[in-house]
Protein backbone atom coordinates (compact mmCIF):
# COMPACT_ATOMS: atom_id res chain seq x y z
CA UNK A 1 0.00 0.00 0.00
CA UNK A 2 1.26 3.47 -0.93
CA UNK A 3 0.45 5.08 2.48
CA UNK A 4 1.12 8.76 1.59
CA UNK A 5 -1.17 8.39 -1.44
CA UNK A 6 -3.74 6.52 0.67
CA UNK A 7 -3.70 9.31 3.27
CA UNK A 8 -4.00 12.02 0.62
CA UNK A 9 -6.94 10.29 -1.09
CA UNK A 10 -8.82 10.00 2.24
CA UNK A 11 -7.89 13.54 3.33
CA UNK A 12 -8.92 14.99 -0.03
CA UNK A 13 -12.33 13.29 0.14
CA UNK A 14 -12.97 14.86 3.55
CA UNK A 15 -11.40 18.22 2.74
CA UNK A 16 -13.71 18.84 -0.21
CA UNK A 17 -16.92 17.65 1.44
CA UNK A 18 -19.15 18.33 4.37
CA UNK A 19 -21.22 16.03 6.57
CA UNK A 20 -20.93 12.33 7.32
CA UNK A 21 -21.77 10.98 3.88
CA UNK A 22 -19.98 13.80 1.99
CA UNK A 23 -16.68 11.91 1.38
CA UNK A 24 -18.50 8.96 -0.27
CA UNK A 25 -18.44 10.07 -3.95
CA UNK A 26 -14.74 11.03 -3.92
CA UNK A 27 -13.66 7.94 -1.94
CA UNK A 28 -15.72 5.67 -4.19
CA UNK A 29 -14.19 7.09 -7.37
CA UNK A 30 -10.57 6.96 -6.13
CA UNK A 31 -10.62 3.64 -4.26
CA UNK A 32 -12.28 1.83 -7.18
CA UNK A 33 -9.87 3.48 -9.66
CA UNK A 34 -6.80 2.45 -7.64
CA UNK A 35 -8.23 -1.05 -7.17
CA UNK A 36 -8.06 -0.74 -3.38
CA UNK A 37 -11.73 -1.58 -2.67
CA UNK A 38 -14.89 -3.14 -4.08
CA UNK A 39 -18.56 -2.15 -3.76
CA UNK A 40 -19.16 -4.58 -0.89
CA UNK A 41 -16.67 -2.83 1.38
CA UNK A 42 -18.53 0.46 0.88
CA UNK A 43 -21.95 -0.97 1.75
CA UNK A 44 -20.57 -2.90 4.75
CA UNK A 45 -18.73 0.14 6.12
CA UNK A 46 -21.77 2.40 5.64
CA UNK A 47 -24.00 -0.09 7.48
CA UNK A 48 -21.59 -0.56 10.37
CA UNK A 49 -21.04 3.21 10.53
CA UNK A 50 -24.72 3.65 11.40
CA UNK A 51 -24.48 1.74 14.66
CA UNK A 52 -20.99 2.57 15.91
CA UNK A 53 -20.51 5.46 18.35
CA UNK A 54 -19.47 8.93 17.27
CA UNK A 55 -20.23 10.97 14.15
CA UNK A 56 -21.62 9.33 10.98
CA UNK A 57 -18.34 10.14 9.25
CA UNK A 58 -16.61 7.39 11.23
CA UNK A 59 -17.88 5.00 8.56
CA UNK A 60 -14.69 6.13 6.79
CA UNK A 61 -12.65 4.58 9.65
CA UNK A 62 -14.64 1.36 9.29
CA UNK A 63 -14.11 1.43 5.51
CA UNK A 64 -10.35 2.07 5.75
CA UNK A 65 -10.05 -0.76 8.29
CA UNK A 66 -11.79 -3.16 5.89
CA UNK A 67 -9.54 -2.01 3.03
CA UNK A 68 -6.18 -1.52 4.73
CA UNK A 69 -6.39 -2.89 8.28
CA UNK A 70 -5.39 -1.05 11.44
CA UNK A 71 -2.84 1.36 9.81
CA UNK A 72 -5.53 2.42 7.33
CA UNK A 73 -8.00 3.06 10.17
CA UNK A 74 -5.43 5.18 12.05
CA UNK A 75 -4.70 7.28 8.95
CA UNK A 76 -8.45 7.72 8.43
CA UNK A 77 -8.82 9.01 12.03
CA UNK A 78 -6.07 11.57 11.42
CA UNK A 79 -7.58 12.61 8.09
CA UNK A 80 -10.99 13.05 9.75
CA UNK A 81 -9.67 15.30 12.53
CA UNK A 82 -7.61 17.75 10.43
CA UNK A 83 -10.14 19.54 8.14
CA UNK A 84 -12.63 20.51 10.90
CA UNK A 85 -9.84 22.48 12.63
CA UNK A 86 -10.48 25.17 9.98
CA UNK A 87 -13.42 26.11 12.19
CA UNK A 88 -11.02 27.96 14.50
CA UNK A 89 -10.21 30.37 11.63
CA UNK A 90 -13.85 30.57 10.61
CA UNK A 91 -14.79 31.48 14.19
CA UNK A 92 -12.28 34.35 14.31
CA UNK A 93 -13.93 35.95 11.29
CA UNK A 94 -17.33 35.12 12.74
CA UNK A 95 -16.63 37.12 15.94
CA UNK A 96 -16.31 40.31 13.84
CA UNK A 97 -19.64 39.78 12.10
CA UNK A 98 -21.52 37.84 14.80
CA UNK A 99 -24.07 40.53 15.64
CA UNK A 100 -25.10 41.34 12.09
CA UNK A 101 -28.59 40.16 11.12
CA UNK A 102 -27.23 38.91 7.78
CA UNK A 103 -24.83 36.56 9.61
CA UNK A 104 -27.65 35.11 11.72
CA UNK A 105 -29.78 34.77 8.60
CA UNK A 106 -26.97 33.06 6.67
CA UNK A 107 -26.32 30.50 9.40
CA UNK A 108 -30.00 29.85 10.09
CA UNK A 109 -30.56 29.34 6.36
CA UNK A 110 -27.69 26.83 6.17
CA UNK A 111 -28.99 24.92 9.23
CA UNK A 112 -32.46 24.66 7.66
CA UNK A 113 -30.96 23.20 4.45
CA UNK A 114 -28.78 20.75 6.42
CA UNK A 115 -31.74 19.51 8.45
CA UNK A 116 -33.72 19.01 5.26
CA UNK A 117 -30.88 16.96 3.69
CA UNK A 118 -30.36 14.92 6.86
CA UNK A 119 -33.99 13.83 6.90
CA UNK A 120 -34.01 13.03 3.17
CA UNK A 121 -30.76 11.00 3.22
CA UNK A 122 -31.74 9.03 6.32
CA UNK A 123 -35.27 8.45 4.97
CA UNK A 124 -33.80 7.11 1.71
CA UNK A 125 -31.51 4.75 3.63
CA UNK A 126 -34.45 3.61 5.76
CA UNK A 127 -36.49 2.93 2.62
CA UNK A 128 -33.62 1.05 0.95
CA UNK A 129 -33.32 -1.13 4.09
CA UNK A 130 -36.92 -2.27 3.56
CA UNK A 131 -39.73 -0.26 5.13
CA UNK A 132 -42.72 -2.08 6.65
CA UNK A 133 -45.16 -1.57 9.54
CA UNK A 134 -42.69 -3.08 12.01
CA UNK A 135 -39.94 -0.66 11.02
CA UNK A 136 -42.38 2.27 11.04
CA UNK A 137 -43.45 1.31 14.57
CA UNK A 138 -39.81 1.29 15.69
CA UNK A 139 -39.33 4.75 14.11
CA UNK A 140 -42.38 6.21 15.92
CA UNK A 141 -41.66 4.58 19.30
CA UNK A 142 -37.96 5.59 19.18
CA UNK A 143 -38.85 9.19 18.31
CA UNK A 144 -41.43 9.36 21.11
CA UNK A 145 -38.99 7.91 23.67
CA UNK A 146 -36.19 10.26 22.56
CA UNK A 147 -38.55 13.22 22.78
CA UNK A 148 -39.67 12.24 26.28
CA UNK A 149 -35.99 12.03 27.43
CA UNK A 150 -37.00 9.37 29.99
CA UNK A 151 -34.99 6.52 28.50
CA UNK A 152 -31.36 6.65 27.35
CA UNK A 153 -30.81 6.44 23.61
CA UNK A 154 -28.50 3.47 24.05
CA UNK A 155 -31.34 1.54 25.66
CA UNK A 156 -33.62 2.51 22.79
CA UNK A 157 -31.05 1.22 20.25
CA UNK A 158 -30.39 -1.95 22.22
CA UNK A 159 -34.12 -2.69 22.50
CA UNK A 160 -34.51 -2.12 18.74
CA UNK A 161 -31.62 -4.53 18.04
CA UNK A 162 -33.14 -7.22 20.26
CA UNK A 163 -36.61 -6.79 18.71
CA UNK A 164 -35.09 -6.85 15.22
CA UNK A 165 -33.07 -10.01 15.91
CA UNK A 166 -36.06 -11.84 17.46
CA UNK A 167 -38.89 -10.70 15.15
CA UNK A 168 -36.73 -10.58 12.01
Amino acid sequence: MDWPLFFWVVLKSILFSTGGFGPLPSLHTDFIAYGWAGENQFTEALAVGQITPGPNGLWVVSFCYLVAGFPGALLACLALMLPPLFIVIVERCYVRIANRPTTHGLLDGVVLVIVSFNIIILANLLRSNGLDMGMLSIVVISAALALSRRISVNLILLSAAVVGAIVG
Binding site: I14, F16, G19, G20, A45, V48, G49, Q50, T52, P53, G54, P55, N56, L58, V61, Y65, L66, A73, C77, P84, F86, I87, V88, V90, T102, G105, L106, L107, D108, G109, V110, V111, L112, V113, I114, V115, S116, F117, N118, I119, I120, L125, L126, N129, G134, M135, S142, A143, A144, A146, L147, R149, V153, N154, L157, S159, G164, A165, V167, G168
Partner: protein
Protein backbone atom coordinates in the same frame (compact mmCIF):
# COMPACT_ATOMS: atom_id res chain seq x y z
CA UNK B 1 -10.98 35.81 27.30
CA UNK B 2 -9.79 34.29 30.60
CA UNK B 3 -7.44 31.55 31.77
CA UNK B 4 -8.86 28.68 33.83
CA UNK B 5 -6.93 26.74 36.45
CA UNK B 6 -6.02 23.99 34.03
CA UNK B 7 -4.23 26.40 31.73
CA UNK B 8 -6.59 26.74 28.77
CA UNK B 9 -7.79 30.05 27.41
CA UNK B 10 -11.53 30.18 27.93
CA UNK B 11 -13.46 32.08 25.31
CA UNK B 12 -16.46 32.81 27.47
CA UNK B 13 -16.79 36.59 27.10
CA UNK B 14 -16.15 38.37 30.38
CA UNK B 15 -18.95 39.03 32.83
CA UNK B 16 -18.75 42.76 32.11
CA UNK B 17 -19.91 41.98 28.56
CA UNK B 18 -22.40 39.16 28.98
CA UNK B 19 -23.05 37.08 25.91
CA UNK B 20 -26.75 37.42 24.99
CA UNK B 21 -26.71 33.82 23.73
CA UNK B 22 -25.76 32.50 27.18
CA UNK B 23 -28.71 33.64 29.24
CA UNK B 24 -29.92 30.22 30.45
CA UNK B 25 -26.59 28.61 31.30
CA UNK B 26 -25.07 27.58 34.62
CA UNK B 27 -22.71 30.07 36.24
CA UNK B 28 -20.26 27.21 37.04
CA UNK B 29 -17.66 26.72 34.31
CA UNK B 30 -16.59 23.10 33.80
CA UNK B 31 -13.02 22.01 34.50
CA UNK B 32 -10.93 20.35 31.80
CA UNK B 33 -11.32 17.02 33.63
CA UNK B 34 -15.12 17.39 33.68
CA UNK B 35 -15.09 18.24 29.98
CA UNK B 36 -12.86 15.28 29.13
CA UNK B 37 -15.03 12.86 31.10
CA UNK B 38 -18.17 14.23 29.45
CA UNK B 39 -16.71 13.86 25.94
CA UNK B 40 -15.38 10.39 26.80
CA UNK B 41 -18.85 9.37 27.96
CA UNK B 42 -20.32 10.62 24.68
CA UNK B 43 -17.52 8.91 22.71
CA UNK B 44 -18.17 5.58 24.43
CA UNK B 45 -21.97 5.66 24.39
CA UNK B 46 -23.09 7.47 21.22
CA UNK B 47 -23.99 4.24 19.41
CA UNK B 48 -26.06 5.13 16.35
CA UNK B 49 -23.95 7.66 14.49
CA UNK B 50 -24.31 11.43 14.13
CA UNK B 51 -27.94 11.72 15.20
CA UNK B 52 -27.29 10.04 18.54
CA UNK B 53 -24.00 11.91 19.01
CA UNK B 54 -25.78 15.22 18.52
CA UNK B 55 -28.56 14.13 20.84
CA UNK B 56 -26.05 13.27 23.59
CA UNK B 57 -24.15 16.54 23.08
CA UNK B 58 -27.44 18.42 23.49
CA UNK B 59 -28.34 16.35 26.55
CA UNK B 60 -24.97 16.80 28.29
CA UNK B 61 -24.07 20.38 27.40
CA UNK B 62 -27.48 22.10 27.17
CA UNK B 63 -29.99 20.22 29.32
CA UNK B 64 -28.05 18.36 32.02
CA UNK B 65 -25.06 20.59 32.82
CA UNK B 66 -26.34 23.84 31.24
CA UNK B 67 -22.85 24.75 30.07
CA UNK B 68 -24.18 26.24 26.82
CA UNK B 69 -27.64 27.51 25.86
CA UNK B 70 -29.87 26.06 23.14
CA UNK B 71 -29.54 29.29 21.18
CA UNK B 72 -25.76 29.26 21.40
CA UNK B 73 -25.74 25.61 20.34
CA UNK B 74 -27.73 26.51 17.23
CA UNK B 75 -25.21 29.25 16.39
CA UNK B 76 -22.30 26.81 16.81
CA UNK B 77 -24.16 24.30 14.67
CA UNK B 78 -24.59 26.89 11.93
CA UNK B 79 -20.92 27.89 12.09
CA UNK B 80 -19.80 24.27 11.95
CA UNK B 81 -21.62 23.80 8.63
CA UNK B 82 -19.34 26.23 6.81
CA UNK B 83 -16.11 24.34 7.44
CA UNK B 84 -14.84 21.29 5.54
CA UNK B 85 -15.12 17.78 6.97
CA UNK B 86 -17.39 16.28 9.58
CA UNK B 87 -19.63 18.97 11.02
CA UNK B 88 -19.98 17.35 14.44
CA UNK B 89 -16.19 17.37 14.85
CA UNK B 90 -16.12 21.07 13.96
CA UNK B 91 -18.84 21.67 16.53
CA UNK B 92 -16.94 19.57 19.07
CA UNK B 93 -13.92 21.85 18.50
CA UNK B 94 -16.08 24.97 18.94
CA UNK B 95 -17.71 23.71 22.15
CA UNK B 96 -14.29 22.62 23.46
CA UNK B 97 -12.77 26.01 22.70
CA UNK B 98 -15.74 27.90 24.16
CA UNK B 99 -15.60 25.99 27.46
CA UNK B 100 -11.90 25.14 27.84
CA UNK B 101 -9.77 27.05 25.34
CA UNK B 102 -7.01 25.15 23.49
CA UNK B 103 -6.98 22.34 26.05
CA UNK B 104 -10.75 22.19 25.65
CA UNK B 105 -10.28 21.51 21.92
CA UNK B 106 -7.76 18.73 22.61
CA UNK B 107 -9.87 16.95 25.24
CA UNK B 108 -13.03 17.34 23.17
CA UNK B 109 -11.48 15.80 20.04
CA UNK B 110 -9.64 13.02 21.87
CA UNK B 111 -12.55 12.29 24.20
CA UNK B 112 -14.98 11.90 21.31
CA UNK B 113 -12.78 10.28 18.65
CA UNK B 114 -10.50 7.83 20.51
CA UNK B 115 -13.25 5.69 22.12
CA UNK B 116 -15.68 5.92 19.21
CA UNK B 117 -13.02 5.13 16.57
CA UNK B 118 -11.67 2.28 18.72
CA UNK B 119 -15.15 0.77 19.10
CA UNK B 120 -15.82 1.33 15.38
CA UNK B 121 -12.72 -0.68 14.47
CA UNK B 122 -13.71 -3.43 16.94
CA UNK B 123 -17.28 -3.66 15.63
CA UNK B 124 -16.09 -3.61 12.01
CA UNK B 125 -13.74 -6.52 12.68
CA UNK B 126 -16.52 -8.45 14.47
CA UNK B 127 -19.17 -7.57 11.88
CA UNK B 128 -16.97 -8.84 9.04
CA UNK B 129 -17.11 -12.30 10.63
CA UNK B 130 -20.88 -12.40 11.29
CA UNK B 131 -22.39 -10.27 8.52
CA UNK B 132 -24.03 -13.21 6.72
CA UNK B 133 -26.20 -14.25 9.70
CA UNK B 134 -29.88 -13.23 9.11
CA UNK B 135 -30.34 -12.22 12.79
CA UNK B 136 -27.45 -9.76 12.47
CA UNK B 137 -28.99 -8.26 9.34
CA UNK B 138 -32.44 -7.96 10.99
CA UNK B 139 -30.97 -6.39 14.13
CA UNK B 140 -29.06 -3.82 12.03
CA UNK B 141 -32.24 -2.98 10.10
CA UNK B 142 -34.22 -2.39 13.31
CA UNK B 143 -31.40 -0.31 14.82
CA UNK B 144 -31.37 1.90 11.74
CA UNK B 145 -35.13 2.47 12.08
CA UNK B 146 -34.55 3.56 15.71
CA UNK B 147 -31.71 5.86 14.57
CA UNK B 148 -34.08 7.48 12.09
CA UNK B 149 -36.65 8.11 14.84
CA UNK B 150 -34.01 9.65 17.13
CA UNK B 151 -32.67 11.77 14.27
CA UNK B 152 -36.14 13.26 13.73
CA UNK B 153 -36.06 14.52 17.33
CA UNK B 154 -32.49 15.81 17.01
CA UNK B 155 -33.27 17.68 13.80
CA UNK B 156 -36.43 19.14 15.29
CA UNK B 157 -34.39 20.42 18.23
CA UNK B 158 -31.98 22.03 15.76
CA UNK B 159 -34.66 23.95 13.84
CA UNK B 160 -37.04 24.74 16.71
CA UNK B 161 -35.10 27.81 17.96
CA UNK B 162 -35.00 29.14 14.39
CA UNK B 163 -38.75 28.74 13.89
CA UNK B 164 -39.54 30.24 17.31
CA UNK B 165 -37.27 33.22 16.60
CA UNK B 166 -38.72 33.73 13.12
CA UNK B 167 -42.30 33.54 14.35
CA UNK B 168 -41.53 36.48 16.63
CA UNK B 169 -40.21 38.43 13.64
CA UNK B 170 -43.42 37.97 11.65
CA UNK B 171 -45.30 35.57 9.38
CA UNK B 172 -43.22 36.39 6.30
CA UNK B 173 -39.95 35.45 8.03
CA UNK B 174 -41.46 32.21 9.29
CA UNK B 175 -42.74 31.48 5.79
CA UNK B 176 -39.23 32.01 4.35
CA UNK B 177 -37.70 29.66 6.97
CA UNK B 178 -40.22 26.91 6.17
CA UNK B 179 -39.73 27.64 2.45
CA UNK B 180 -35.93 27.24 2.70
CA UNK B 181 -36.31 23.91 4.42
CA UNK B 182 -38.94 22.43 2.11
CA UNK B 183 -37.64 24.11 -1.07
CA UNK B 184 -34.05 22.90 -0.62
CA UNK B 185 -35.32 19.37 -0.02
CA UNK B 186 -37.46 19.42 -3.18
CA UNK B 187 -34.60 20.82 -5.32
CA UNK B 188 -32.20 18.23 -3.86
CA UNK B 189 -34.58 15.36 -4.56
CA UNK B 190 -35.50 16.32 -8.12
CA UNK B 191 -32.38 18.06 -9.49
CA UNK B 192 -29.60 16.65 -7.27
CA UNK B 193 -27.28 19.69 -7.51
CA UNK B 194 -24.03 19.91 -5.45
CA UNK B 195 -25.10 20.29 -1.82
CA UNK B 196 -22.72 23.21 -1.28
CA UNK B 197 -24.70 25.22 -3.86
CA UNK B 198 -27.90 24.65 -1.89
CA UNK B 199 -26.17 25.60 1.38
CA UNK B 200 -25.19 28.89 -0.28
CA UNK B 201 -28.68 29.54 -1.68
CA UNK B 202 -30.35 28.69 1.65
CA UNK B 203 -27.89 30.88 3.55
CA UNK B 204 -28.33 33.73 1.09
CA UNK B 205 -32.15 33.60 1.39
CA UNK B 206 -31.83 33.69 5.19
CA UNK B 207 -29.33 36.58 5.09
CA UNK B 208 -31.48 38.71 2.75
CA UNK B 209 -34.63 38.03 4.82
CA UNK B 210 -33.02 38.92 8.16
CA UNK B 211 -31.40 42.02 6.60
CA UNK B 212 -34.79 43.23 5.27
CA UNK B 213 -36.47 42.62 8.65
CA UNK B 214 -33.68 44.50 10.48
CA UNK B 215 -33.92 47.44 8.03
CA UNK B 216 -37.72 47.57 8.35
CA UNK B 217 -37.48 47.51 12.17
CA UNK B 218 -34.92 50.31 12.07
CA UNK B 219 -37.16 52.46 9.82
CA UNK B 220 -40.13 51.98 12.15
Amino acid sequence: MSINITGGEVDNNSSSHPNPLRTDVSSDSPTITQLFITWLRIGFTSFGGGAVTQYLIQENFIHKNKWISAKEYTRLLGMSQITPGINILAMTILIGKRLGGRMGIVVALLGLIVPSAGITIGITATYAGFSEFPQVKSALRAVFAAIFGISLVTNWRNVKPIFVNNRKKGPLTLFVAVGIMIGSGVVYLFFNPPVVVLYLIGGLCGAITYWRVARKTKEE
